[in-house]
């Protein structure tokens, strides 16, 4: 083996080490490698936590407690049930506390790449077309690498639109929440929060 070839072999080892180091660095930087889409099952569970509500028109802030359940609905859909308790001076045992319970279920869209709202089953009601200009909301959900998005779109009486966006995403030992209420193009309310998975 000549001196040149030994030198080349040495260079090769160094190059390999550098490549390994670079690969490790890339894997350790969040977002450097393509992020994986979380599965619905990963998000299923019961969570409890807090959220901060900011009214971007008045500047008012409010802290609320939230309980969220994300569960299977029918065979391939999902349902989100959540309860919000708006606190008064950080307390929930004084007059003025508001409690709201909500639930919405989704089923896969015909081609299965996203979800559409599953209407409540009523055998006596004729299946009717959604009429957004008569106030019917359009609701759909998307699961991508940045989380589970639920959109609720409605045309208001005066023709302006309201779009509500809920983004729930895996974070630490639970889920993060980002909510925006967009009124005809302007974000008027933003909620951020975190809820831990309950035992």
């Amino acid at each position: 083996m000549s001196v040149w070839s030994r030198r080349d072999e040495g260079k090769g080892v160094v190059r390999l080490r550098w490549l390994t180091l670079l690969l490790l660095l890339l894997l350790s930087v969040p977002g450097a490698a393509s992020a994986a889409v979380p599965s619905l099952e990963e998000l299923f569970g019961s969570y409890t936590g807090y959220a901060e509500v900011v009214d971007l028109v008045t500047g008012e802030r409010e802290r609320r407690e939230m309980d969220v359940v994300i569960e299977r609905y029918q065979r391939r859909g999902f349902r989100v049930r959540w309860t919000n308790v708006s606190l008064v001076d950080g307390r929930r045992d004084v007059p003025g506390v508001k409690r709201r319970e909500m639930a919405v279920a989704f089923k896969p869209a015909p081609d299965g790449s996203y979800f559409v709202e599953a209407p409540e089953y009523n055998p006596f009601r004729r299946k009717e077309e959604i009429q957004p200009l008569e106030g019917d909301p359009i609701r759909w959900a998307v699961l991508d690498d940045s989380g589970l998005y639920i959109y609720s779109f409605v045309v208001l009486l005066d023709g302006r639109y309201e779009l509500q966006m809920y983004r729930r995403f895996p974070e630490r030992e639970g889920i993060g929440l980002l909510y925006e209420r967009i009124l005809d193009g302007t974000v008027v309310k933003r909620i951020t929060g975190y809820a831990v998975r309950t035992e």
Binding site: F115, I130, I138, W140, V155, D158, G159
Partner: protein, 166 residues
């Protein structure tokens, strides 16, 4: 007696129409015409009067073209896009029930002399495009503001001034 009842009903209908409860029928005259710009998010706007409402033809800066007809909706100064009647509608087969299934929904409204055109497009993967075009006269020119929102990106707002064509 019967004649008086008929007269009262007609008068009521006239009042209903006159107060605009069943919606404005068309746009102000000044918004009809054709305008062009050399560049920008929207490079051509043509608004034409139709029997029932109006027709909007737009050409965007990226070459995309839009041609929509609007008719008054059952709300004052709100217009619904006229859906093309396909075979499904003609034969009352299972036509797409929701704007989600059709993948598109367009509407318009008029407020203080400004025409707002909206289009919602929902792609096969659930991502969406929501455009809001505010169109108003500024002297002989047409000022257009386009706000474009796409899932899950932040919205982009751009302005352009179009001059009368021809």
């Amino acid at each position: 007696m019967r004649r008086a009842t008929v007269c009262a009903a007609l008068a009521g209908l006239f009042l209903l129409l006159a107060t605009g409860i069943v919606g404005a029928t068309t746009l102000p005259d000044g918004l009809f015409g054709s305008w062009r710009a050399a560049g920008g998010p929207v490079v051509e706007v043509t608004l034409l009067r139709t029997d029932e409402g109006f027709r909007a033809r737009l050409r965007f800066g990226d070459g995309e073209e839009l041609d929509l007809r609007f008719e008054p909706a059952e709300r004052p100064e709100v217009f619904a896009a006229v859906r093309s009647r396909g075979l499904f509608d003609m034969f009352s087969l299972s036509a797409p029930e929701s704007p989600l299934e059709r993948g598109q929904f367009d509407w318009a409204r008029l407020s203080a002399g400004t025409l707002y055109l909206y289009r919602l497009r929902i792609a096969a993967d659930g991502s969406f495009l929501l455009d809001r075009l505010a169109i108003r006269r500024e002297g002989p020119a047409l000022a257009v503001t386009l706000q474009r929102r796409r899932h899950p990106r932040a919205p982009i707002e751009t302005h352009v001034r179009l001059e009368p064509a021809g």
